[in-house]
């Protein structure tokens, strides 16, 4: 990249970030900015905190543990556990760091259990991607983070190997571990596009979860997302993800352009972040 195009690219990125914040501030969102360095107390680390630590840059200084922000929603959850935030909807932008990458994330959060208000946030994000970023959305994946809780025993759900096989969609290994008769084995044999229907037909006790997923699916279909899949095998990365989770893919892109979902800490909420 020559100097001129590099300058243009940097200016474009900065402008895009500012445009995002202006756009959603204009729609009534309050803006929030948090430090990219987060401080933890060794004695009050939660299992969620510990779970994320393997993916974060962290260091110790004067008895406290510090880590670089790796996920905006997690940072906001921790902020809200400590301080009062009076806004119902917020927008943010800033870097997130994994052990090997730095990304810029723009996102929205709404702190309400009202599903219609949560859906309105999703719609606004989808419209922003389509209309302002002019990126057509080709695929959306919707999952329900409590679905597997109803298919697996607590022991199975907490077993590291079982979780790994589910996350890897490794049906052969899971069959050897849980047995051919286990309901998840038949479910995994179905093509991804047909798994939701299979659950609806064969697992009536999970009907409520599928209906919830269908409700969200409808919005994305209305917003002209070409393919909407239901993922029946989602395992939440954090314990506070207890509801719907959504990933949106732009045309010809392998990484999701946006991902988010419902969570429940310290109160019911919904968030969605754009990965630029």
């Amino acid at each position: 990249m020559n100097t001129t195009s590099l300058n243009k690219s940097i200016l474009h990125q900065k402008k895009q970030e500012l445009d995002f914040l202006h756009h959603f501030h204009g729609l009534g969102y309050d803006l929030i900015d948090l430090s990219a360095i987060e401080k933890f107390d060794w004695t009050t680390l939660s299992s969620d905190d510990l779970g994320l630590m393997t993916e974060r840059h962290k260091w110790q200084h004067e008895g406290a543990l510090y880590a670089l922000r790796s996920d905006w929603t997690n940072a906001i959850v921790r902020y809200r556990q400590k301080y009062q935030l009076h806004s119902e909807t917020i927008a943010y932008s800033g870097p997130i760091y994994t052990l090997t990458t730095e990304k810029h994330q723009y996102g929205l959060e709404t702190f309400t259990g009202d599903v219609n208000k949560q859906m309105a946030v999703l719609k606004q994000m989808v419209n922003y991607i389509k209309d302002t970023l002019t990126l057509p959305l080709s695929v959306a994946v919707i999952s329900h983070n409590t679905l597997l809780k109803n298919l697996l025993s607590e022991t199975e759900l907490n077993d590291a190997l079982t979780r790994k096989y589910i996350q890897e969609r490794n049906r052969d290994a899971l069959k050897a571990k849980l047995g051919e008769e286990h309901p998840i084995i038949d479910l995994m044999a179905q093509p991804a596009a047909e798994q939701a229907n299979y659950v609806k037909t064969n697992m009536p006790h999970l009907k409520r979860h599928i209906e919830e997923m269908n409700h969200w699916e409808k919005i994305l279909i209305e917003e002209k997302v070409s393919y909407v899949y239901g993922d029946m095998l989602a395992l939440p990365s954090q314990s506070y993800y207890k509801g719907i989770s959504i990933q949106l893919y732009a045309e010809d892109q392998v990484e999701p352009i946006a991902s988010g979902g419902q969570y429940s800490s310290p109160s019911n909420a919904f968030g969605i972040g754009l990965n630029i």
């Binding site: 890897e168 052969d172 290994a173 093509p191 991804a192 596009a193 393919y227 392998v254 990484e255």
Partner: protein, 200 residues
């Protein structure tokens, strides 16, 4: 367009034979015709010919949507990929091999450090692991290690170096893997390929 990363060498030959068996002749003819090319393009698919150990890297990074590699490679690498299904070739197994049986094997040479550590942890025996990149048999032959942990197909190489299989461990075969996001983003195409490659 789907991109598939394949292991070069013996596994590629096995894959071509399997394609012929499944009458996927467009793919098998194109792969049979290669000499030193690393990329093979067909109208609906692009093959990347890479080292077996690198297949999961290409898939995890999203450069390839699908990959075919041995389960030994997947055992050793903790990659964020979908490990979708068995393919009926590349059969062999992990084994501990030594000159003679011993009650314990305190020093083990191997390419497969994680697998070896997990195995000795599972039998609650401490082990010193010496990581080698190749010619692993030599380490036990010249007594640098009490045993080696390696993959064994026929056992000929072991015998030629005065070693014998002492403990037979996990079976290995080829696996179809996918990028986590491509699995959904290109689900139609991936599902078609899975159906075509599925064992009867």
């Amino acid at each position: 367009m789907i991109t598939i990363a394949l292991s070069k060498g013996r596994q590629l030959k096995d894959f071509i034979n399997y394609l012929e068996e499944k009458e996927l002749t467009d793919w098998s003819s194109a792969l049979n015709a290669i000499s030193r090319e690393l990329v093979v393009e067909l109208p609906d698919v692009r093959f990347l010919l890479v080292k077996g150990e690198d297949v999961p890297v290409y898939v995890e990074e999203g450069v390839a949507d699908l990959g075919i590699t041995g389960s030994d490679v997947l055992f050793e690498q903790d990659r964020q990929i979908n490990n979708l299904m068995d393919l009926p070739f590349g059969y062999c197994h992990f084994a501990v091999a030594a000159k003679a049986p011993q009650d314990t094997y305190p020093v083990v040479a191997t390419k497969y450090v994680n697998f070896t550590k997990n195995y000795f942890d599972s039998i609650m025996q401490p082990v010193k692991i010496i990581q080698l990149k190749g010619s692993v048999e030599l380490a036990a032959t010249i007594d640098m290690a009490d045993a080696i942990m390696d993959i064994v197909q026929t056992g000929t190489t072991l015998k030629e170096n005065g070693l014998y299989e002492q403990i037979q461990l996990d079976e290995i075969n080829a696996r179809l893997i996918s990028n986590k996001h491509a699995y959904f983003a290109k689900n139609d195409e991936i599902q078609t390929i899975m159906n075509q490659l599925r064992m009867n």
